[in-house]
Amino acid sequence: MATHTEQEILAGLGEIIDEVAGVPADQVTADKSFVDDLDIDSLSMVEIAVAAQDKFGVEIPDDQLKDLKTVQDVITFIQK
């Protein structure tokens, strides 16, 4: 599996979050909380996980989603 740099993943997540939730990519920074800062609900989180799997080839199971609270959490999960 190809490995991705933190910057690549952040940029990819920015595109995904823009597409799924309409949040401009430049607002998607590593420290942002999905719920509190980006106003992303639990169903949009699933859409982000599905799109991230397509993009990065890493499956994010539903039972892990609740632990991924910030953009950095997702970056770390994908890199791991």
Binding site: D41, S42, L43, M45, V46, E47, A49, V50, D62, L65
Partner: protein, 317 residues
Amino acid sequence: MNLAPTAPGARVLAFGEYQPGRVVTNEELARTVDTSDEWIQSRVGIRERRIAAEDESVADMAVAAAGKALAASGLAANDIDLVIVATCTQRDQVPNAAATVAARLGITAPGAFDVNAACAGFCYALSLANDAVRGGSARNVLVIGAEKLSDWLDWNDRTTCVIFADGAGAAVVSASATPDIGPVVWGSSGDRADKIYLRDHRYLYQEGQSVFRWTTTELYPVALKALERAGVRPEELTAFVPHQANLRIVEAIARKLGAPQAIIARDIVTAGNTSSASIPLALSRMVGRGELPSGSTVLTLGFGAGLTYAAQVLRIP
């Protein structure tokens, strides 16, 4: 041994629907559980739903919807020789709903059975009706989806009580010279039975995120397969009428069909999620509003607990 005479095809002659009189708005729910109109509309797309009276049963609603479909079909009660009720919410397992419904409609001694494929039930029942007519087991079939979800809800659970509702829809299916109901594509995934079930044998529960992922990623290929098997291209579709589970699920599946011209059923907005009733209810209401002209081609897709799913193409009478 002789075989029954077969028919070249089957078609829907007419639809009918019934919704209970009581409208429950999001604002009304927000008075008793921690939710809001904004939360419900953004998460599930429902503005209001209908809830049956305490003494109103699945069979009562089935009779009301089926009576309208029968009247609109032009057939007499005794022309019907098979009654199928798709339901998963009867209070009692015994007796079945279908025989009672038939008797109350004045249909004498038809074949009568219930189908439980949860929210996919109507598509399963319609397929069985199609096969029964084509195979010669029945001439005219009454197919009904009827549900009283309100009996199986924890009205303090804001993740479920805002979604589910009550209602019924019905179709009369008869033999025809041309096939106007396409081949069914159906299946199940019983290894995921724990995603939608009755908690404590009493309250409907679903794992929202898992169900959302399943429905938005695995079901559009089922819908496309039903089109392919019927020989209908996505751009020929007049409408897509999936189970009204959640408006976001409906729209996510619709986006993947490649049928931008198709009307997308959004009956959930004012009907809620009525499980097996949602597809015939939506079809009947869309026909009633003149949105689906006679002869137009519609794709249905049912999916729900089991997990179960089924899709087929049909022509509007």
